[in-house]
Structure formats: structure tokens, C-alpha cells
Amino acid sequence: MRIGVLAVQGSFSLHARMLNAIGVKPVEVRRVSDLKDLDGIILPGGESTAFQIIMNTDDLGDQLHRKLQSGLPAWGTCAGAIILGHNKDGPLPGWSLVDIEVVRNGYGRQVDSFVAPLKVSGMAGDFQGVFIRAPVFLNPGQEVDVLAEFKDDPVMASQDNLLMTSFHPELTSDTRLHEYFVQHFCVRSDLGDKKSA
């Protein structure tokens, strides 16, 4: 199992720590060659404009975009989610791979950042949602499964091979969402590979 963590900037080392904690060896992704043989990839928190601009310095942005379109499982947290959804707030648009609108910093600036307990679909007990200059998700399309909400808006959603959260599980010590991503998204791609082989 090779799970990549986009490492151009942001909370990639925290995600890598969480993957290590559940026995999955993370692969830091900074160049096109790092995308080889991945079973999934996490797009971490950070600044989505910086991610896109740095990825566009070489071919990494295009190659990653193509891999996600052709089914590579991916989980975007906060900045990563902004890249996956429909977003028009920054200098570069999101990739619109998940049919959901994403409003950057929709909950406000840093002084409005907050922590709230969340009910995640299919998960017992609360999950601590850490929202930092978080995006708001709006108007999920029919293909989108909403997996958690805060004040009636989605904060965790998925569509096909893609998962997105507007909060930061990597800032907690709770590895359940990392296990969920690996088991429900990445393991499936293992099976898919075997079928096609």
C-alpha cells in the first residue's frame, strides 16, 4: 500500500505522521515521478493557491489532475478540498472533480476559526472538527454523498474516488478518518487493479 501526501507545502508531515500511526508508509509527493504506483493520495491543508502555483511550475499539477480523473483515490483536507471542488475565489480555479461548490474562507478569517464536534456518517461517537480559515461547501450535486454536516452545510463529502473535508483531522490524534480513507477508498483501488490485471 503506497499512499502519497502532496508535499509542496502545508500540513503534509502531520498527515504522514497519521498514516505512519495506522501502519501505512506515506510517500511525499513533490515531483511527477513521486506519483508512480500510488494507491491513493492526500492533498493536505495549507494554501490552495500556493499548492496550485507550485504544482504548475512543472507538470505535477496536470499529471495529478489526470490521475484523479482516471480514478486515483484522493482525500483533500481544507486547501486540498478547495482544489477538488468548484472554486473560483483564488487566482486559479479548482479542478471541479467533485460536484460541490467551495467558498474559500467561507467561515471567516483566522479569528473566526473554531473547533466543533461532528457526527460522521457510519462512525460511532463524535469526531473533533478543527476548522481553520475553513472553506464552506455548498450545493452538493446528486452524485455527491454528504458524510458530515455542521450547521446544515456539508463539511465532509465524497464522490466516486474522491473524499473531501473542510476540517483538519491531521491536527488531532484521532486516526479514524485516515483509516476510513485507506479502507474505503484506497483498498478498493487495489481490487480494481487486480481485476484489470
Binding site: 507545502q9 502555483i53 507550485i54 471567516g108 473554531f114 480559515r133 491536527l171
Partner: protein, 303 residues
Amino acid sequence: MRDKSLPQPEPGKDGFLLKVGLAEMLKGGVIMDVTNAEQARIAEDAGGVAVMALERVPADIRKEGGVARMASIRIIEEIMSTVSIPVMAKVRIGHLVEAEVLQALGVDFIDESEVLTPADEANHVYKHDFRVPFVCGATCLDEALRRIGEGAAMIRTKGEAGTGNVVEAVRHMRRVMSEIRNLTLMRKDELMAEAKRMGAPYELVKEVAETGRLPVPNFAAGGLATPADAALMMKLGAEAVFVGSGIFKSADPANRARAIVRATTHYQDPEEVLAASRDLGEAMPGLEIAQIPAEEMLQKRGW
């Protein structure tokens, strides 16, 4: 706009997690000094992770002298309405009301900075009282731990701002990292005496001894001017870099900004740092530290 119905974090617990959390999101990135909206746009388009809104960059403060204060509200507001990345601004050391003003304005991070003229010769701001996170400069581990004790959510080296000379940032980063390593070698029963000697909070000394790292992100600042400078600081243990005068005092700011971002992401890859170092135009003119009179050394401000 601020939504009053959002949960209010408790200052000590969730509040500190949120502050350190934003610092975590800036890791691996470049924070750039800007003095107007146009420069802020250039910084964002170059892939900067945040901008520091200033009235004058440190090189000009150094040259022009006089009392350097918090930037004008108009400039900060203009920059906040121009970019989508976080906006930081500086307050004078100990000037808690400048800090309250910036928090009310909604800036995302406050730098309690030695680059401005100190407002208090004895005390720094008590930063746990604020919702907005603070970054503070440090020249050594004990200074860093005092600032974290007061509530700083990020530490940066002081370096010597406005010089384009990275030597002081290197000195400060090497010192902090080596003092951290030394703590990890000590026996538990030596740590209280060490905390006393350092003049740093015991709980934080103990934490650093156990974890081998600062309790908050550790960034570099003060004199960085080239992509190689940024990569050097990352190699020495910095988790992100601030570039002040180095970008907008150079011949080609947009290109240099992009190049420094690239070198910071790929600091472990000399081929990438080489690529980032090509065709940059002139760097800012540098200042030899020995030529700066002792009373003009910014890093001596604060304790």
C-alpha cells in the same frame, strides 16, 4: 465576515490548537513582506503562503530611522481585501493595544517584531489573551520558550532584518537547534536546574527535552535574499521562511518570489534549487553585519 454563531474556542485549549494549526498550514511555504496591494498580488501569484503587511520594508526602516510603528490601517485593509491568503501584520514589542487593534481589524497573524521600535523595554504582550495567533522572533532556545510561555504560536529566527545577509539567521537557527539537541541528552533530574539557568518555563523545557522539537512551528527570518538562502534555512531545520526586503528590494520581484517559493519546496533537491537560481536579476544589496553599529542591531531588541 465574522459569524457570531460560530463556536467560541477556549483561549488556553482549543484556542491554542487553532493558533498553532494555522502555523502548521504555513509550513513549507514562503511568507513575504509587502507594502501595498500590488505587491501583495505579486506575492500571492508567486505562490506565497501569506503576506506581511508593512508600511516600510526593514531595509527602509533601517535606512530612514525614526520610530517604526504598526502599519497604517488603510494599507493593511487594502492588502486584506486584495489577497485570499492569510495576512500578517507587525506590532511593536509589548504594544498590546496595537495588537488589539489588529485583532479587531481581523488580521490572521500578528508578528510582535523587533523590526519595529519597542513600546515596552521589559514586557512582551501576553499573547494567550488573544484569539489571533502571534509569531515572535528568537535568537536562542530560552528566548523562544519565554515567548511560547507567553502564548506565541510560532517562532522565527530574528536574524538581522533588512540586511540581505543571512548570517545572523543561520546563527540563530543553528543555536536553537543545537540547544534543543542538548536538552534531549539531559537526565530528567537535570532539567529543573537547566530551566533555571535558561530562565525558561520548566514545563516547556521538559517538553522540548522529551520531544526533541519546539512545541510550535519554527520558521526562519531576517536577511534571506536568495533561493539558496531559503533552502539553506530549511536544511538547518526551519519549517518555512519569511522573506522581507529580499523580494521587493531586488531587481525582479515577481521572478525572485517564484524562485524562492520553488527553492523552499524543493530544498532537498539541488537540481531544483539550481533551476530556481537561474536568471534572477540582481539581489538586494547586502549589508556587512560588522558595519552595523551595535545600537542599530535589531536582534538585540526584546529578550
